[in-house]
């Protein structure tokens, strides 16, 4: 299964060094105007040619070579432009979607591929689930930036998209530090990559369905360092009981009530912990353990509700009892400034978490239908959801003073530091 995913014909290539020029960052939206006009025109042409491509492909089973290359150029250009606007890439992109010329690029099949005719016939219908996920991640499958006011090619989800949030936060961060935060860059790149796969699928460049697995998408990207709050679980734990999937929302009701009751105590405990950490510099071990259990239980419940895991979770948040579990390091000394202003500092992460929540919701709805039919969860969506839940858990751990390490937005799991 993993090998199969490696072979996706549309691959994201990220060779970005995170450095950003403050001047171009500040004027980024103005600088992009020529590209926006150009992209708008190109999109109109693409719509016309895509129809012709579709008709021809229906008869021949494969797109003509010229049209295929034209579509590939458009997809690459869209990726470059989106990367530039969202600060995922630094240099000004070219206008024709040159291959290998931009630090955030997309590798596409060089030659048109034979495709099943029935999938060509109903390609748009088949693409709807992927379009929904793409809308949650990137705001649309393309063209949303250049032609937004015109509305014709805009397909976003109204500003809650992960890419938009990463771009806005990245703008401030890049202006301040001259560098794009790696977490935000990775999250934005992931969104761009998925969007490119969806566009390639819709434009008949490939008949491989888009794969939302973050690890596969960012295969060549360096992993972030180990975070004190980690989500562990088997990414191939995909079996789902159809009966419990159908009634999942209702089956979670007792857990939701219990979680709400627990939350009241957790809030009080976190206030107490705030004072302790502020004065002592280190959280109280007892409260740390209690709050860790609460965050873990929350993860278990959300994982069950949103179909990221199959079994009914326990009510105690005990470690090692659930397929998607939370590991939290013990209480460590924390920066008092970060403790004092924790709520304010958490605001950017809250925005990212809200954006990921949209993707999580879309993934859950789609998994529900898929699970009912197949008795399993789609691998890509499961791992996208696990990523969103991990970020949410890290955010909660940060807010509840389990750690002062900021939530890492990268879809990639952190890795242990190499031995000295």
């Amino acid at each position: 299964m993993a090998m199969e995913a490696h072979e996706h014909p549309v691959r994201l290539i990220v060779e970005d060094d995170l450095r950003r020029n403050r001047w171009t960052v500040f004027f980024r939206l103005l600088l992009v105007i020529p590209h926006a006009i150009w992209f708008f025109l190109w999109t109109i042409l693409i719509i016309v040619t895509a129809i012709a491509n579709w008709v021809i492909s229906l008869f021949t089973g494969r797109p003509p070579g010229g049209l295929h290359r034209f579509m590939c150029g458009y997809i690459r250009y869209q990726a470059h432009l989106t990367a530039y606007i969202s600060l995922t890439g630094n240099p000004y992109p070219g206008f024709v979607g040159e291959e290998g010329e931009y630090p955030v690029d997309v590798a596409l099949p060089a030659e048109p591929q034979q495709q099943r005719r029935w999938t060509i016939l109903i390609r748009i219908l088949l693409a709807i689930p992927a379009l929904l996920v793409s809308a949650a991640l990137a705001g649309s499958t393309g063209g949303s930036y250049s032609s937004g006011k015109g509305g014709k090619t805009r397909g976003g989800n109204g500003g809650g998209a992960l890419l938009v949030v990463c771009a806005v936060l990245g703008w401030f961060a890049s202006l301040a530090r001259g560098r794009m935060p790696k977490g935000l860059r990775d999250a934005a790149a992931y969104s761009i990559g998925y969007s490119a796969q969806v566009t390639a699928y819709v434009l008949l460049v490939t008949d491989r369905y888009p794969n939302s697995d973050p690890t596969q998408m960012l295969a060549g990207v360096e992993r972030p360092s180990r975070h004190p709050v980690r989500v562990v679980g088997d990414p191939y734990d995909l079996r789902r009981s159809r009966l419990t999937v159908f009634f999942r929302l209702l089956l979670t009701v007792p857990h939701i009530v219990w979680l709400l009751l627990w939350a009241i105590v957790a809030i009080l405990a976190s206030i107490a912990q705030w004072f302790v950490t502020l004065f002592r510099g280190t959280p109280a071990a007892g409260l740390h353990g209690f709050l860790t259990r609460y965050v873990r239980y929350r993860l278990h419940v959300y994982a069950y509700l949103l179909l990221v895991a199959n079994p009914f979770p326990g009510f105690t948040g005990t470690e090692g009892t659930y397929p998607l579990d939370l590991e939290v390091d013990g209480p460590k000394r924390q920066n008092r400034w970060k403790t004092g202003f924790r709520i304010i500092l958490a605001i950017p992460a809250l925005l990212v978490s809200a954006a990921l929540g949209g993707a999580l919701f879309a993934a859950a709805v789609l998994t529900w239908f898929y699970g009912l039919v197949n008795g399993s969860a789609p691998w890509g969506l499961r791992n996208l959801s696990a990523y969103a839940l991990r970020y949410d858990a890290q955010l909660f751990a940060y807010e509840l003073l389990l750690t002062d390490a900021y939530p890492h937005a990268s879809p990639l799991e952190g890795e242990d530091a190499p031995p000295e």
Binding site: P254, F312, F315
Partner: protein, 392 residues
């Protein structure tokens, strides 16, 4: 040991019987209802429609019950397989198994719910498909919540106390019943009834004080109920009963009936009856699930649910006898408070035309389904009151 056990059973049975006798006592006189001919009270066409409508309803009930028993019977046998869908430990797994059992019953009964609405529409009555499906779904969420709580209590006690879990469990459930009865009126909301003068006058007669009367807008049938304990006592009128064709005179009778429930402590009496059934009920449950390891083991839960539903069905006739007795006392109380048997008769006649309730259903329907006296019996009581010495 056997003798001692027999003696204990006898003593407990006697205590139960004395308690039941105390609860049964009422203000009802030793009356003998006059026999009336329903054809003289209801138009022939209405009688025909009501009988036909009720017979369809009975069929749906039979179907529903059969499906419920069938599904739970199969689930009692195979439901244990769903244990593998849980990582929640024994009690959590028990909760999951319990919820899944009711989820399956819900799914199996859904066609009947939809057919029920279709049937009502055919007779020109209200009913919403959304309510019968999605609304039903939300109601299932409430069921799951209470079921989970009940299973957490039972399984927790069974794991701690062992085979005699039912001894502490029954008082816990009685306590919960009291709590729910106390809290529920405050959760229901509703608009104040617009005739406080009538309420105040009836309160004086019925010897109850400060009982707020609320009108609930969410129902499409004429009905009313009294609930609450102490400070939470309330009377709720469903909106259709305060609208035409019901007149203020008939509404007054309805109010007097509901206040009669409160005046004669029927909520407390109902809890008392519940307590009387709770001990033998939980004991039987403990007994029936022993072969599966007892209620502390998740594997016993599918069987326990089947047993619970079956026991509820078996005790239905007895519960209906008790309920009809309480309702008859409330009717009598209303007659004494209003001195208006004509309003009572008109009210019950209107019920037949508005709800298409069969005024004199077949015996098995009466035994299994009727928790109120039949409309004909209620009209007969108004006639009895009118002709008896109680009437002014």
């Amino acid at each position: 040991v056997t003798l001692r056990r027999a003696a204990l059973v006898l003593v407990l049975g006697a205590v139960w019987a004395v308690a039941a006798w105390l609860l049964w006592r009422s203000s009802l006189p030793a009356y003998h209802l006059p026999h009336l001919d329903e054809r003289a009270l209801f138009p022939a066409r209405l009688l025909h429609r009501a009988q036909h409508f009720s017979s369809v309803g009975r069929l749906f009930w039979l179907g529903n019950t059969a499906v419920q028993l069938l599904v739970l019977g199969v689930y009692a046998h195979y439901g244990v397989r769903f244990t593998r869908e849980s990582a929640a430990g024994p009690i959590g797994t028990g909760m999951l198994l319990g919820m899944l059992g009711f989820a399956l019953v819900w799914a199996a009964q859904l066609p009947f719910a939809v057919l029920g609405v279709w049937g009502r529409h055919r007779y020109g009555m209200g009913g919403s498909y959304v309510q019968a499906t999605i609304g039903n779904w939300l109601a299932l969420a409430g069921t799951f919540l209470f079921l989970s709580l009940a299973l957490a209590i039972v399984m927790g006690l069974a794991r701690r106390v062992g085979r005699r879990w039912w001894l502490p469990a029954a008082p816990v459930f009685i306590g919960l019943a009291i709590l729910f009865a106390f809290v529920t009126p405050w959760l229901l909301g509703g608009e104040p009834y617009n005739r406080p003068d009538v309420v105040a006058r009836l309160e004086r007669i019925e010897h109850v004080r400060h009982v707020p009367v609320r009108v609930l807008d969410a129902f499409d049938e004429p009905n009313a109920f009294a609930t609450g304990l102490g400070a939470s006592r309330r009377v709720f009128l469903w909106k259709p009963i305060v609208d035409p064709p019901f007149t203020p005179r008939e509404d007054q009778f309805v109010l007097a009936h509901e206040l009669g429930h409160l005046a004669h402590n029927h909520i407390w009496k109902s809890i008392g009856w519940y307590a009387l059934f709770a001990f033998p009920g939980t004991y039987l449950l403990a007994l029936l699930t022993r072969r599966r390891g007892g209620m502390g083991v998740p594997a016993a839960i599918p069987l326990a649910i089947f047993a619970l539903v079956f026991l509820q069905l078996v005790q239905l006739p007895l519960q209906n006898v008790i309920s009809r007795h309480l309702e008859a006392e409330a009717d009598w109380s209303a007659l004494r408070a209003t001195h208006d048997p004509t309003a009572g008769r008109q009210l019950f006649q209107l019920f037949a035309s508005e709800t298409l309730e069969d005024p004199s259903p077949p015996w098995w329907d009466y035994v299994l389904l009727e928790n109120h006296p039949t409309l004909l019996q209620r009209i007969e009581m108004t006639r009895y009151y009118a002709t008896s010495a109680q009437s002014p």
